[in-house]
């Protein structure tokens, strides 16, 4: 029984992490049809900010991580994505791939590719006992933070003017522009929010693994990508749900598979994903307005 609860909590916390990552990617896709590979590098830069500022008061470290991700997100939007905003989705996809590779390789050039250890949020490594199961405090914090962010983001999108504009832009960008939504502001906001999500994911992920390295964002982003696809590309609830399901599935498979098959768990997850897509190519929660009207 304890083991079941432990596994479930583990699955929910990892699922929450992937849901946040998938949301960051889904937000950008919504407003500009760009699949942002470089989202992983936002997580990476926030990770290095944590490494650099480690030892300072906690709020300063978190603020530093947020600032690093924000600056990088706005910089790549301005320098790389704004000039090609009108391009077709495949071109945008390639350019974000190039941006991601560029940032990663530049980082390797300066700090080397070896992982660096950092004992961030060591307080949370403690075990607590809830309902007879011994759980890591960090997992509970991860679940709470993910839930708060999801609720907060939903509130922002539903109840504020900027959120309304973002939803309008995601539905039909040119129509929204005609009705007075400012493209630059909406897109910059989307990048800023995705940077905040990336910084939070970085804090939780670094606390969990204790490592920072140039490629750390990649693993998160690949799984989150697949999450956005099975959730329904362009739909935010879909992204969150898809990211959550894929992340949770990795943990559940880790627990359920016989030991000698565990190393292949990603393969099993992706096979499951392929099966979902066979029956629902449009995703679990299909987006409105993604298909161009003819």
């Amino acid at each position: 029984m304890d083991r079941i609860i432990q596994t479930l909590v583990d699955a929910i916390s990892v699922g929450g992490l992937y849901a946040l990552t998938a949301l960051g990617i889904g937000l950008i896709f919504g407003v500009m049809r760009l699949i942002n590979f470089a989202h992983g590098e936002l997580i990476m830069i926030a990770g290095y900010a944590i490494l650099l500022m480690f030892g300072l008061p906690l709020w300063l470290v978190v603020a530093g991580a947020l600032a690093a991700a924000l600056v990088l997100a706005l910089a790549i939007e301005r320098a790389a994505f704004r000039p090609i905003r009108e391009a077709d989705p495949p071109t945008l996809l390639i350019s974000s791939f190039a941006v991601s590779f560029f940032l990663q390789k530049t980082m390797i050039l300066f700090v080397g590719s070896r992982p660096k250890g950092v004992d961030f949020l060591a307080v949370l490594a403690r075990q607590v006992e809830i309902a007879g199961a011994r759980l890591q405090l960090l997992q509970i914090v991860t679940i709470v933070v993910s839930a708060v962010l999801l609720v907060g983001l939903t509130w922002f999108l539903k109840a504020t003017r900027l959120g309304l504009e973002m939803r309008a832009a995601a539905e039909n960008f040119s129509m929204a522009q005609v009705l007075g939504v400012r493209a630059n502001r909406v897109i910059a906001t989307a990048f800023a929010i995705s940077a905040v999500l990336a910084a939070v994911v970085a804090c939780l992920f670094v606390a969990q693994t204790g490592l920072v390295q140039p490629r750390m964002g990649l693993q998160l982003v690949v799984i989150a990508f697949v999450g956005t696809v099975i959730g329904g590309l362009g739909s935010l609830p879909g992204a969150a749900l898809g990211g959550f399901l894929v992340g949770a599935a990795t943990i559940l498979l880790q627990a359920l598979l016989p030991p000698d098959l565990r190393v292949f768990r990603e393969a099993f997850v992706f096979v499951a994903v392929a099966l979902v897509l066979l029956f629902r190519p449009q995703g679990i929660i299909p987006a409105h307005g993604l298909k161009e009207r003819i």
Binding site: I84, V222, L278
Partner: protein, 351 residues
């Protein structure tokens, strides 16, 4: 688009007028270019010869990727997985029994005793990659273009995870060594010629034409009765075969295979070559492979360092990757159709 109506008698006179030659002109130009590169490799000193040979192998991979991406308009991040499959299949079939005994003691007996001829193994390597593409193509090619592109990333990750952990058959994270090294400059040239020929033959086919129609306007093509998914799967399978063969060539050029070789860095290199050359034409694919191979060689020289009046001036290691990524971004912003601009080599004579 030109619509030509021909009768059999008409095509005979057309041949005399050089129309066939005209149609085959891009192929001939590219074949001559590849042959010239092969000749250059033959004459070059050993180190440079190896680099040019490697460039020709990458050319096969880029052309393989082009067959799918260029015609369907769907980006693929998964083709390096097909290279890995080709490389490992051929390695397992051609390694000597003794070498397998050392590196892969747990191999099933029928594989352990296999010692195939290189050509047959290369063909089977490509074929296995093609079969895998057929199987995964069924769910993935039904997705809309952009989702399909992302989903191909999953192929890469799954292949990497499976090869990296299936220790009894692939050696896991360890390298497999002792592969017969039969790929020299002329083998690579032959591979490149074959790849360019197959890619050209495919893009002149009816299926590729219909696929390009669906690339330009999915809805209009569907309304005209084009079964996009079927043609996409066809292109995917052919391009996976070529990618598989390029993996085979790479394996038997290096003499070792390692799972790390076939992952993100190679994926980026191959995609960068295709994008920089221009992913909408075969000429672009070839041009990208040639230009980027030459450029990376120059950058590698810069990393080794130049002798300037007794002191060595060297660029920091890893600069090549950064420059490549930057170049790719600049191309996307300033010349989105790549070096070739989406066109084939055009007929130079007036008619």
């Amino acid at each position: 688009m030109n619509i030509e109506v021909r009768t059999s008698a008409g095509s005979a006179t057309a041949f005399l007028k050089g129309e066939v030659l005209r149609r085959l002109w891009p192929l001939l130009c590219l074949a001559v270019l590849v042959l010239a590169i092969g000749l250059l490799a033959d004459l070059a000193p050993t180190v440079l010869q190896r680099r040019i040979t490697q460039g020709l192998i990458y050319l096969v991979a880029v052309v393989g990727l082009y067959v799918f991406v260029g015609n369907s308009g769907v980006l693929s991040f998964g083709h390096v997985a097909f290279m890995a499959i080709g490389a490992y299949v051929s390695a397992l079939l051609t390694m000597s029994v003794a070498a397998k005994g050392v590196f892969l003691p747990d191999l099933p007996i029928w594989l352990k005793s296999a010692e195939w001829a290189p050509l047959a193994a290369a063909f089977v390597g490509g074929a296995v990659a093609a079969v895998v593409a057929l199987v995964v193509g069924f769910p993935l090619m039904r997705l809309s273009g952009i989702s399909a592109g992302i989903a191909t990333f999953a192929i890469l990750v799954v292949t990497y995870v499976v090869i990296g952990n299936w220790s009894s058959v692939t050696g896991g994270q360890n390298s497999l060594m002792g592969l017969p090294i039969y790929v020299g400059p002329w083998t690579a040239t032959a591979g490149a010629l074959a790849a360019v020929g197959i890619a050209f033959a495919f893009q002149e086919s009816r299926s590729a034409l219909l696929l390009r129609a669906s690339r330009e306007d999915e809805a209009a093509a569907a309304a005209s009765g084009v079964n996009m998914v079927r043609h996409r799967i066809g292109a995917f399978v052919i391009s996976a075969f070529l990618s598989g063969v390029s993996g085979v060539l790479l394996a038997h050029f290096l003499g070792t295979v390692r799972v790390e070789t076939f992952y993100l860095d190679l994926t980026f290199l191959i995609i960068a070559m295709l994008v920089i050359g221009g992913m909408r034409s075969l000429t672009g694919a070839v041009a990208g492979a040639v230009v980027i191979s030459a450029l990376t060689e120059l950058l590698r020289q810069a990393e080794v360092g130049f002798q300037i009046s007794g002191t060595t001036v060297a660029a920091p290691g890893g600069l090549g990757d950064v420059v490549l990524a930057l170049l790719m971004l600049l191309i996307i912003v300033f010349r989105p159709k790549g070096i070739a601009g989406g066109r084939e080599v055009s007929w130079p004579f007036r008619t």
